[in-house]
Symmetry: C3
Subunit: 425 residues, 3 copies
């Protein structure tokens, strides 16, 4: 079997309408929407005194957020469709990870800085390893070899390398500057904060240029497939064209999009508040560390919608869209959400810095490195999916065993206590 | 001179027969087999009291193992040829590094965990830097530019990146978790062991999928050259076809293969026992550290057979085979031999973990990174060989100067004693 | 717009003459030569007692060196042109960074080892990130997509990876060996020195092979464009050919080249002496650390000439030349200048080792990694320039906030004093 071309499958690049289309014809089939039932359950558990149990509230809230995040994403995409390529693209690029942003803002306001940073780490590695890994595996199970635009993928991978370097720097600064007495210019929290702020500005400016590149100067690289599909349609496929008309009708009106967006966002905010409020007690009773909850649990929940879309696209052999979801989402978290959270933290009066723990930094670097290797050659197969998933498994194992490290204000290393050894974890 | 095509040289993809062919016509020429003379010498030195000298026994055993490992490899390949592609490939993939495995098992049973880990490190970097470097240099000296299948090489390079990440994690865990008191979830040997066991399972499962990929679903990528050669033969080269018949006759019978394999394995086991038994005394008298002996000496000996085959293939412009030996052997050590040694260590009642020292981890990451860069473009030249050898030289210098570090059970850092400074090494 | 071919622009591969050509027609236009006015100013400030002020002398000397370095480079290239490809290439390859070398030698003789190492770091990351970043941005602003020879760029990028690994090793050795008591083979300055010397030998030998590759065995890869241009000219462009004659006349005579080279070198040496003599007092009064002055200030000054040439070439869509200047200059610093400085340090009786600080090593690794990603696909656009500049900005921020760390002789970590915390930097 030769290289599978993307023209073999019918072109259906207008995603949202298409998804609804599928949804309408298959409301009995399994869907994330069934999980909406957990929204009222979470509300009931939170407000009816007898039902309150932080662990269960945490679990139910986690599940309830998944379909809500999906609806937020869907409404954003429909609205973007109505607003046209330019502003629509910008909307998608800035609100695509709104659910994660809302959860993180609530966590920040409660002072859970560790969870926030862990969930940034988790979103980056989750998209690069878990989402991309499952996509390549699912796509590769159907198609022997899949191809995609190397230039667009490389641009994203390089931007992620830049982000990984940027997130490494505050830790390096802490480790090195803490070796010097404060009087001689050594580490202080204020310096760490200034350094982080400067790096956040560089990241968000770079993100602005990345949008300029992908939405304005080189948009064809990223829209290539849609345009190609459209040209083909006009030429010689009439019923496809009709299908396209039908699709266009399927795009929600501006009013409906805004309404759905507002309602879904409201519910995400409400449930996020439950989730974050219960997080400390829940992880205590589940025996999970802060870093594991942030890196693995919160990150999987916040990105569940991306997971299903990216995998679906890969199974339809639309690798450009699949990669653009997985890589683009990581990019957005690293270059946009992380700096925005830092800026927002000043509003809460609890300034956050960008100093991540060493394991978090290593996880991000490892994920970026292997994703870059896999995406740089413009072709994929199932074993590359397995390799990404293996790296995810290895990192998840690390975060499962890792205790929470609370960095002290003056020195990077805490002296070991001589507590008696605990046996098996 | 344009790109040299692989069709310029006569196709002779059935390696073992071909090698024997060469061997028969050239028994007077230099051959590793002459080194078999050291087998009886080693045995004599070990059992005749007056001749016993641990340093010389170590050296003689080192040399004696080289041709024995070659015969084990040869017998495995002949047997694989007889058993057909599927099972044969599996046999090659699992017993290809049997000599290293046997040496390591003896070292483990003696409690030489440091030597075992160092020899794993050394086999990985030795194959990626020394074997591949010499191959590209020798091939590049004859051919201006050599080409190979980028997809197959990339798959191996990515698997090695995954392995490098996996081998980094236990060290990171130790460094970070040791900063937390044990009562709050800090580092314990038991946790390190559980973490290592979980990572070993991920590695060996990934290795299974890698075999599935290269032997079943995408075997054409790896057999490309053989098939291409065969097609060409059938078409228009009759005497080649006869040569092929002759070659087929040259493949050993199943009985001969098994017999040679058993005898060679028996001798390897015997000599390994001598080698490992003498290692501690020998390195003391030679002034070498445990880590240098493991990383450089044992690794070169265990991989001598791979060295000669990979270089020979490169000089015949069969770069796909050459790379597949060098990259494949590293891959097998990292994803198969390392986990198997960990599992086997439980049988000896001395469980080994996967925590490597920082220099070992850095050496593996450096080797994988540069090998990936060189193999990702599908073409090679002599200066790339020089670059790989330079990295090997730099790492060998590090391990030559590096003292043995004995990690303590509770903390990653040992406090410096105030011993008087020793002058030049 | 499709891929812009390098044949679209008129071929003018003989650079020096061409530059002078432009210069002559545009002596009123902004030029680095106007900065030559700072040479007499610096001399006056140094020798007229009333004008002496170390801070201003430092600043004026910095500016004065920029055009002098440009004239040294220009004279070297003209001389190289007259001496023919072989020896000329060698001359360019060894004296291309003579200005940096002279500044570093003066700094070494004053015992400013920290500044020397920082300026090596700064030259490597400055060329890879700042020079290459500005070139891709300036070129990409004019051309949608620019292409270059992937093989030549990869060779340089891989050599830089090797250099990054080599510069990492002495730090790793210090960190690890310092954990072992000296009596058991632990860290001593003498061992660090021997290790550094051995690595320097490997680097300079590798540099020799790299020259052999690019000037002898594979010179076509690097001269590809010039030859291609020449062939085209002969074929069908007469007035281009005349232009070429004119250009040839423009190449300076051997005598003029040598004279200009000697005079410029003399002034560079003189001004370097001023600069280095004033460095300590100046950075005190400017509130800059030693590492910031070395990595950012001295490096930008020493490489100003490369900056303007590389950007000019990129704007003329001669990406092969632009990359060869930026990557080649980094390569030369890492593989040639660094070892030469180490060897030269013995002449001053103050042997320098190759142990860089952790932030320096990380900066080099980060720069090499991202430059390798960007140069490995053989095409570039403006956003890749932005990405390189962003990494440079992030690293500059780090070095701005970083205090000077003075490594002690016996242990890598200094215990924090309990000095009162200083507020915002």
């Amino acid at each position: 079997m030769s290289k599978s071309s993307q023209n073999d499958t019918p072109p259906d690049s207008v995603e949202p309408a298409n998804e609804e289309n599928i949804h309408r014809r298959s409301w009995l089939k399994p869907s994330l929407d069934w999980l909406l039932i957990f929204v009222p359950i979470a509300i009931a558990m939170r407000f009816i005194p007898g039902l309150y149990n932080p662990t269960w509230l945490f679990i139910v809230s986690c599940i309830a957020i998944i379909p809500l995040a999906g609806w937020m994403g869907k409404a954003t995409e429909h609205l973007a469709e109505r607003l046209g390529q330019g502003i629509g693209g910008l909307l998608n690029a800035t609100f695509g990870n709104a659910a994660e942003l809302i959860i993180a803002l609530f966590a920040l306001s409660k002072g859970l800085e560790g969870v926030v940073k862990a969930s940034i780490t988790g979103s980056i590695i989750g998209n690069l390893l878990l989402v991309l890994g499952l996509s390549l595996l699912a796509g590769g199970a159907k198609f022997k070899e899949q191809i995609f635009n190397r230039t667009a993928a490389s641009m994203s991978a390089t931007a992620l390398t830049l982000a990984a370097i940027a997130l490494l720097i505050p830790s390096v600064f802490h480790q090195v500057a803490a070796q010097v007495p404060v009087a001689e210019g050594g580490w202080t929290p204020a310096k760490e904060q200034s350094l982080s702020l400067a790096i956040a500005v560089v990241l968000i400016v770079t993100y602005g240029f990345t949008l300029l590149f992908s939405l304005v100067t080189h948009k064809k690289l990223f829209l290539g497939e849609a345009i190609q599909g459209a040209a083909q349609k006009v030429g010689h496929e009439l019923e496809e064209s009709e299908d396209d008309d039908e699709k266009h009708k399927m795009v929600w009106s501006r009013g409906k999009s805004v309404l759905v967006l507002l309602v879904a966002t409201g519910f995400v905010a409400l449930i996020s508040e439950f989730l974050v409020g219960a997080i400390e007690e829940a992880r205590g009773s589940l025996g999970l560390t802060e870093v594991f909850v942030g890196v693995i649990v919160v990150a999987i929940i916040g990105n569940a919608a991306e997971h299903s879309s990216a995998i679906l696209m890969a199974m339809r052999n639309k690798m450009d869209l699949s990669l653009s979801i997985a890589l683009g989402s990581s990019l957005q978290i690293a270059l946009f959400v992380a700096p925005v959270l830092l800026f927002a933290s000043y509003l809460f009066g609890k300034p956050m810095n960008l100093e991540f723990t060493i394991p978090e930094v290593i996880a991000v670097i490892a994920a970026v490195l292997i994703a870059q290797q896999i995406s740089s050659d413009g072709e994929s197969n199932w074993v590359e999916g397995v390799q990404l998933l293996s790296v995810y498994a290895v990192l998840a194992i690390l975060f499962f065993f890792l205790p929470d490290v609370h960095t002290t204000a003056t020195a990077p290393q805490v002296i070991n206590s001589v507590a008696p050894a605990v046996s098996h974890p």
